[in-house]
Symmetry: C2
Subunit: 152 residues, 2 copies
């Protein structure tokens, strides 16, 4: 347990906490008017549906660390706005499969593009190496978080 380790971990902890604050503030500031539907988890849901294909509520909830009821409500809102469709699961009468609609994918892509543009602006003076290093390390950090939350 060297001082180096401690201080580096402390810095990581600090920076992550700060990043959270900024992320929340940004989400609040940007998501007020038009696409309020994509607040919070909704964007991540559409994102995951686009990435991993249609799936049911439970799978989404497990993947996104959310309660099933929360996902149910998010999905209902998304359906109300025509961004996803619910179809009965042919292999399980209890379940419903959630699929993104073209409009949903479009909306998601628009938000994604806006966010990506935002990062592009902010990181305009970063070297490509630093950018891809950040992406890689964040990916590893998230993987570590996943492994911790799901020791399986």
């Amino acid at each position: 347990m060297s001082d180096d380790h401690e201080s580096t971990l402390g810095r990581i902890e600090t920076e992550v906490a700060l990043l959270m604050r900024f992320g929340e503030a940004t989400r609040r500031a940007t998501g007020t008017a038009e696409h309020r539907v994509l607040d919070r988890a909704a964007y991540v849901i559409l994102r995951h549906l686009a990435d991993a294909g249609p799936q049911n509520v439970s799978a989404l909830a497990a993947r996104l660390n959310l309660d099933g009821s929360t996902v149910t409500r998010q999905v209902s809102a998304l359906q109300r706005d025509g961004l996803i469709t619910r179809t009965p699961d042919p292999s399980d009468g209890r379940g419903t499969v959630i699929s993104p609609t073209p409009a949903g994918l479009q909306r998601m892509a628009a938000v994604q593009a806006a966010r990506t543009r935002l990062y592009g602006d902010m990181l305009a003076d970063w070297s490509p190496e630093d950018r891809s290093t950040l992406a890689a390390l964040l990916g590893r950090l998230n993987q570590a978080l996943i492994n911790r939350n799901r020791p399986r």
Copy 2:
């Protein structure tokens, strides 16, 4: 605007969004019982008081990207629990200076240590270089966020 840039930025955007979700889930899971006081902004408030010294509500709100009323309530809760003290600002009769109490600093340090330990566990198999690189890049990312929010 090469494809490399786009995809790297996209990855950063993805990973940050995921990190947010995990952070919220973790906070919810850990902060339930005992030190619920340090939920959300409260921890960051104590943290900032410890780092930057006693200051008034407005300064905290500006620094933490929060509404003044939110900070007022957080500070009230912290005072109720004996973690900060309010003293009249000698140089401005309207203001009150918020100072951490020893108990507050202790509580903050305990949470900080727990979080740091958590990161230590998760990043146990990371090389010291990768850790410090992550810390540095997160710091630069936050700085970029600060610069964007306060173009000043």
